[in-house]
């Protein structure tokens, strides 16, 4: 108990609170700039923490990480350009809501669900760090392969109007994701000896190109008169600018479920917030009473993706604190900052530095409260940015997006990729092929392929018998859950099609 009180005191000194505040503001602004990811925001600050007192530097880092996750959803909602890949799923419903004049409502829903997801995962981190980490550690290559394969099938069948187009889009993403060095043998694949391709296609240029540039090209083809107005207008009705209690209550089950899913995924090293957001979105659509509203401006869609991607931020500290394994790049960077300060994370940290651990927990909760307050200010500020006429805003966004894409790897090729994917996305939109499954295929193929091939390699050590996977309890439980979920997906899709067919006939 003494340790807990001491930890809270350490995290709530005026210096630490100011550090969290500054970190959050910087994170929200950085997150809103396309191309500057949460990891990048943290990476930019890590070297400076060396010169700061540990309990100024670390809370600032935590604040920056949380702030950047929310900041990224602002641009996703207002200009269809996710600030970070984690906000890509927020675009799907956030942008249609903004087009209806409900941009502020969408941003507020994103803020509330972000803070909820964040707090949920922080509480889980505090109370169940050890338990969740032990579940996550039971997942080996066969389970990861199964989980990612299932996610691919689910997402391709749930997005867009036709299953076959969704599947094609996923396959295209998988092919693009295979460009570069083979994950096991490091042999170049699909590169045609082009050096730039050996590093693989960057996720950020692909995301910005496919989601933002394609949409802008589509909008720029409108007649000149339409481009003289601003991209978005904000409804003056009060109801369109707030999230009512009843709306929040109706999305609460989705937020809770998505926060749980995000927490679980965050606890598994290597999956990350982008996958969590898309999985939660798919699950929310599958289980929603109104799946037809998804993609057309559903508050549930925004809530699902935002609560899930933010829930990852707390739970990816679970393997970090409990086992010293960082769940993603941002967690690895935070681990680096701890090392700079002389704190080695891992099982012994709870014995060696209990006060510091409780101080981290307290700092995480305080950061969430500050995020909620500061988020409202950011929403108000960003509302004015999009009132610039489209004919000026579109070229400006293209230029800022190009700079963001370049910043990641310092490669001119990435700027070219932004526009190549923009054109590809535009053609896909024209052919009514959904672009999101392509992104999911691209993100998941390295994880799927690596784990599938390691599973086969493990099979070769069992006398080439792949049946060993059925002796793993975690695999069997996961398989059972997925068969059940597939059944529900098919049933829902059938019902949905039947409903549409009946409506058409009527």
């Amino acid at each position: 108990m003494e340790n807990i009180v001491a930890g809270i005191q350490l995290a709530t000194t005026p210096e630490a609170l100011i550090a969290i505040f500054i970190g959050l503001i910087a994170g929200q602004i950085l997150g809103a700039i396309p191309g500057l990811t949460a990891s990048m925001a943290v990476a930019l600050l890590v070297p400076y923490t060396f010169y700061l007192d540990p309990w100024i530097g670390i809370p600032m880092l935590l604040g920056m990480f949380k702030g950047s996750l929310f900041g990224s959803s602002i641009t996703a909602i207002l200009i269809k350009t996710p600030g970070t890949p984690a906000a890509a799923a927020t675009v799907l419903d956030g942008y249609p809501l903004a087009q209806k004049g409900k941009g502020v409502k969408a941003m507020k829903m994103a803020l509330y669900s972000s803070v909820f997801g964040d707090t949920f995962s922080d509480v889980m981190l505090i109370f169940a760090a050890g338990f969740l980490a032990s579940i996550a550690l039971n997942f080996g290559p066969p389970e990861y392969a199964l989980l990612t394969g299932f996610s691919l099938i689910c997402i391709s069948s749930l997005t867009g109007n036709s299953i076959w187009k969704g599947l094609l889009s996923v396959f295209l993403g998988m092919i693009i994701g295979m460009i570069g060095l083979d994950p096991i043998t490091a042999t170049p694949r699909l590169t045609f000896d082009y050096l730039e391709l050996e590093e693989g296609i960057g996720l950020i240029p692909m995301l910005i190109g496919t989601l933002a540039v394609s949409e802008e090209i589509r909008q720029m083809e409108q007649p000149v008169k339409k481009l003289a107005s601003s991209t978005l207008t904000f409804s003056k009705k009060k109801i369109d600018n707030i999230v009512t209690l009843s709306e929040f209550k109706s999305t609460l089950p989705t937020i809770l479920k998505s926060s749980g899913l995000g927490t679980l995924i965050g606890a598994m090293p290597g999956l990350g917030s982008t996958i969590a957001a898309f999985l939660a979105y798919g699950e929310a659509k599958r289980s929603s009473k109104f799946p037809e509203k998804f993609g057309k401006g559903s508050l549930e869609g925004v809530a699902a993706s935002e609560s899930a991607n933010n829930a990852v931020s707390g739970s990816n500290m679970i393997p970090l604190l409990a086992f010293g394994i960082p769940g993603d790049i941002a967690a690895a960077l935070i681990m680096g900052a701890f090392l700079i300060q002389g704190i080695t994370l891992g099982p012994v940290v709870f014995q060696d530095n209990p006060i510091e651990i409780y101080a981290i927990f307290a700092a995480l909760i305080v950061a969430n409260l500050f995020n909620l307050v500061l988020g409202h200010g950011l929403i108000r500020m960003c509302k004015h940015v999009v009132t610039v006429p489209k004919r000026l805003l579109f070229p400006a966004v293209l230029v800022v997006a190009s700079a963001g894409a370049y910043a990641i790897r310092g490669s001119l090729f990435d700027i070219q990729l932004v526009f190549i994917f923009g054109i590809l996305g535009y053609l896909m939109i024209k052919c009514d092929i959904p672009t999101v499954p392509m992104l999911i295929g691209f993100i998941l193929i390295p994880i799927l392929e690596e784990n599938l091939r390691i599973t086969i390699l493990l099979g070769s050590s069992h006398d080439l018998d792949i049946g060993f996977i059925f002796t793993r309890p975690a695999f069997l439980i996961l398989l059972l859950i997925m068969i059940l979920a597939s059944f529900l997906v098919l049933k829902r899709r059938k019902l949905h099609n039947l409903e549409k067919f009946t409506n058409k006939k009527l």
């Binding site: 700039i33 930019l44 109007n161 036709s162 076959w164 094609l168 396959f171 998988m174 092919i175 295979m178 083979d182 096991i184 043998t185 042999t187 694949r189 699909l190 590169t191 045609f192 540039v213 090209i217 720029m220 083809e221 000149v224 008169k225 481009l227 003289a228 006429p389 489209k390 004919r391 000026l392 579109f394 070229p395 400006a396 293209l398 190009s402 700079a403 370049y406 910043a407 310092g410 001119l412 700027i415 070219q416 526009f419 923009g422 535009y426 024209k430 052919c431 009514d432 193929i445 392929e449 599938l452 091939r453 390691i454 086969i456 390699l457 070769s460 080439l464 949905h496 099609n497 549409k500």
Partner: protein, 173 residues
């Protein structure tokens, strides 16, 4: 340039089938080389996944073709056909051309800042902003904002102009 729904889908599937064949029979054999003596004990070869995805694409397309045009079933919720009026086609072609020029030529030869200035100027002009003063001020302000944010704030140095560099070098020499 409008097609009816059936012909559009047929053309799309056949076109994609050709691309899939090209991918399976030309792209993969010419760009993925499995390491020598790679046996089953070594696990799956690097070419396995590309071939698997290629074949899955092929089967998806064939299945859809048979289902849609031989058994004449349609499970799609609704299908749209592309809208490409002559005006839209011309406009989007110009926009795409400018974007390609910007990413492949302007930035490389004129540098990010000068290239972006010209890009914003031309594109906004095409989109209907004819006030030169507004265009100049807006482009300059945005470029300055990016310069302060990236170069000064984060020490991220965006590409510089090759041509201007050579010109300055020539003057100095």
């Amino acid at each position: 340039m409008s097609l009816n729904k059936i012909n559009h889908e047929k053309l799309l599937i056949l076109g994609l089938l050709c691309l899939t064949f090209f991918f399976i029979f030309w792209v993969i054999p010419n760009s993925v080389i499995d390491p020598e003596n790679f046996g089953i004990k070594d696990g799956l070869p690097p070419s396995f996944t590309p071939y698997l995805v290629g074949l899955l694409t092929f089967f998806t397309l064939v299945f859809q073709y048979i289902n849609r045009f031989i058994f004449k079933t349609n499970n799609d919720v609704e299908t749209k056909i592309p809208v490409f009026s002559k005006n839209i086609f011309n406009r989007s072609s110009y926009i795409i051309l400018i974007c390609l020029l910007y990413s492949f030529l302007f930035i490389e030869y004129l540098g990010f800042y000068l290239g972006s200035f010209i890009f914003i100027f031309i594109l906004s002009f095409i989109l209907g902003e004819k006030r030169i003063l507004i265009l100049s001020l807006f482009s300059t302000f945005l470029i300055l904002f990016i310069y302060v944010g990236f170069n000064v704030g984060f020490n991220i140095f965006l590409p510089e102009s090759r041509i201007l560099e050579q010109v300055f070098e020539g003057i100095l020499n």
